[in-house]
């Protein structure tokens, strides 16, 4: 065994350049395989079962996926609005534990501004036992209509970090979901709180009281002619009459709209099913995205072919690197025939020489696999940065995944197998003819 270790060590050193290049190719292959699986599974988990916190989203009639992306992940545009009355109806529904209204349509340098109620801080748990809590400052105060309107904002940690804002600073929102500096509102908001990081899309949001959203200049309400009574259909057959809120006066409920209502059920399975039946099948005016995880799962199923292609590419890179191990060792066989003959003359058996070559191939693959962790770390860090920047979802670079031991082990085995062909050549080396000229 010591002999094999020494032979392998010396050979790796003697062929340092080709060994290094081969190790790098193996590292790339192993790192790629590990990254593809880790990014895919972590992204899938984060988008389908991660820290979402709500069971369902109620929004305008349209795509469930668009609704979820817009409200949970703060991506995409809003499919439209639903009436305040519908929000109130859902809020009072006995099956509903928590209903939080979202009003969207403004941004701060590209980061979403969401108008909502203080329940998002006091009641909502994005994970069991975890609330959106200020790391500095406090949550916003919702002014009563008779009071002077307090324009306050609470920033997600990522927004504060990226925009360099702190408690006490002020900002003016920009109209629309996408940043255009020409569309700045006049209203000045004071930052009263910065939230602790949650590693969820909520870190990318600026939260303001929903009344402040309504009362920004340029936000026009449209009355619906058949303005609903509670529990009736709120959106059909409208005749639009524009209306602007008046300072100090309550906004009549028939004018109010919300982009979505985020819902937490008392019993998600039964309540979700029955409400989905009621709204999605029997109703025609709204969409209930329930369960949120299944909606996102559908998305992943639709784009699953991308994963397959990435997997295939990584497997191809594995095969190429296995081939490079074979080629790098095989190419040294002619120059090493004398070495094998000398080893045999010293008493090494054919099996020892065979084992040394297989061990050498496995060692190259093993070292490459170790270096693969660096490649994996680099790719995952880059992917995590891009995903966080664009979605707020945070991938854990150090999260364990079975592929983190399966891929290096598999690569080492494949490497060992690729050493068999050159090992057979070494096995067949004739001792006498490769030692010295026969006299």
């Amino acid at each position: 065994m010591n002999g094999i270790v020494l032979i392998v060590r010396r050979s790796l050193r003697q062929h340092a350049l080709s060994t290094l290049v081969t190790i790098l190719s193996v590292a790339l292959a192993t790192g790629l395989v590990m990254s593809v699986f880790c990014v895919r599974d972590q992204a899938h988990d984060a988008f389908t079962g991660g820290a979402i916190g709500f069971d369902a989203v109620l929004g305008a009639r349209g795509s469930s996926l668009q609704l979820v992306l817009n409200t949970v992940f703060h991506l995409e545009t809003s499919p439209g609005n639903i009436s305040w009355a519908m929000y109130q109806a859902v809020k009072k529904d006995a099956r509903v534990k928590l209903a939080v209204p979202y009003a969207v349509g403004d941004n701060l340098r590209g980061f979403r501004i969401v108008g909502t109620t203080a329940e998002i801080f006091t009641e909502f748990e994005y994970q069991e036992g975890k609330k959106l809590t200020p790391e500095s400052g406090r949550i916003f105060v919702e002014s009563k209509p008779a009071e002077e309107l307090k324009r306050e904002g609470v920033l997600g940690s990522y927004v504060a970090q990226k925009l360099g804002l702190k408690v006490g600073d002020s900002f003016k929102p920009f109209h629309g979901l996408y940043f255009d500096e020409k569309n700045q509102h006049e209203e000045v908001f004071t930052i009263v709180g910065i939230l602790a990081p949650t590693n969820t899309p909520n870190d990318r949001v600026i939260w303001i009281p929903i009344d402040c959203m309504y009362r920004m200049k340029g936000h026009v309400f449209r009355e619906r002619k058949d303005a609903p009574k509670e529990g009736t259909n709120p959106i059909s057959g409208q005749k639009v009459i524009e209306h602007e809120p008046v300072a100090g006066e309550d906004i009549p409920e028939e004018f109010k709209e919300v982009s979505a209502v985020m819902i937490k059920f008392k019993n998600p399975d039964t309540a979700g099913m029955s409400m989905s039946q009621h709204i999605n099948i029997q109703g025609k005016e709204a969409t209930l995205a329930w369960p949120i995880a299944r909606t996102m799962d559908d998305l992943f199923n639709k784009i699953g072919w991308i994963d397959k292609i990435l997997e295939l590419i990584s497997y191809l890179v594995v095969m190429v690197s296995a081939g490079s191990i074979l080629a790098s060792i095989y190419n040294t066989m002619n120059e090493r025939r004398r070495e094998f003959a000398i080893l045999r003359a010293l008493g090494a058996r054919r099996g020892t020489v065979f084992g040394a070559i297989v061990a050498e191939a496995a060692a190259i693959a093993g070292l490459g696999s170790l270096a693969g962790y660096l490649v994996h770390g680099t790719i995952l860090t880059g992917a995590a940065y891009v995903i966080r920047k664009n979605t707020g979802v945070v991938l854990d670079v150090f999260q364990f995944h079975p592929v983190l031991w399966l891929a290096p082990l598999g690569m080492t085995l494949i490497g060992a197998l690729s050493g068999i062909a050159p090992a057979l050549k070494a096995y067949g080396t004739d001792v006498a003819s490769n030692l010295t000229p026969v006299s």
């Binding site: 010591n2 002999g3 020494l6 010396r10 050979s11 050193r13 003697q14 004398r338 070495e339 000398i342 080893l343 045999r344 003359a345 010293l346 008493g347 090494a348 058996r349 054919r350 099996g351 020892t352 001792v431 006498a432 030692l435 010295t436 000229p437 026969v438 006299s439």
Partner: protein, 219 residues
């Protein structure tokens, strides 16, 4: 008796299909600790003879008994094992492994037998005057020093028999004399028999027992 050979034959088929008998030795014997020189000219079959004794080549006919074991009836792996444990081999071209240090080259001489003993390898190198060259690689040593490493390696596994094939053939006069002295002394100190083949009369003159391979090889 350490080595006993009877009716040993080895032939090769030439490219034109003709069978050439290289070795045909009716009888040969070597006592334990005995130092014997075989005189043989180029093409006399001396390397083939030594390779047959070492079990590197398989005889066509005949019998070789080494240290009580019949080499000619052993499997290849058993011959490898016997060689690793019983025989030391010194080659004309040294056959040192270039990527290995002097110490590792000597240690390799033990690895396939009882196992590497680096302390013994170091002592052997000190014995042949290379105590300050342990970590030198062969190309960093002179040819005389390389042959001394080869001698140390041949003795590494405490062999009962050292086979030396033209050990001074690549050395100048001074180095040849020095190398031969070291081989013979080291074999004596280690209780190993020596079977040396050479065509150099000066080398042969130092041996009490010299046999002419051309005469004992009835090809």
């Amino acid at each position: 008796m350490l080595l006993e050979i009877e009716g040993l034959q080895k032939s090769y088929v030439s490219p034109d299909g003709e069978k050439n008998t290289v070795v045909n030795i009716p009888r040969f014997e070597l006592q334990e600790g005995q130092q014997t020189a075989l005189e043989g000219q180029s093409g006399s079959g001396k390397t083939t003879f030594l390779n047959l004794i070492a079990g590197i080549l398989q005889a066509d006919a005949g019998r070789i008994v080494l240290a009580g074991r019949e080499v000619t009836s052993l499997s290849e792996s058993a011959r490898d094992r016997l060689r690793a444990e019983t025989i030391g081999y010194v080659f004309q071209t040294f056959n040192l492994l270039q990527g290995y240090t002097a110490l590792e080259n000597v240690a390799l001489g033990m690895m396939f037998g009882a196992g590497a003993d680096y302390a013994r390898a170091q002592k052997l190198l000190e014995r042949v005057g290379l105590g300050d060259r342990l970590n030198y690689r062969p190309r960093q040593l002179s040819v005389g020093q390389q042959q001394r490493v080869a001698v140390a390696r041949a003795l590494a596994n405490k062999p009962k028999l050292v086979l030396a094939d033209e050990p001074t053939g690549n050395l100048d006069h001074r180095n040849a004399k020095e190398a031969l002295k070291i081989i013979r002394e080291a074999c004596t100190e280690n209780g190993a028999a020596l079977l040396l083949v050479s065509h150099d009369r000066e080398v042969l003159a130092g041996f009490d027992n010299v046999q002419d391979l051309g005469k004992i090889n009835a090809k």
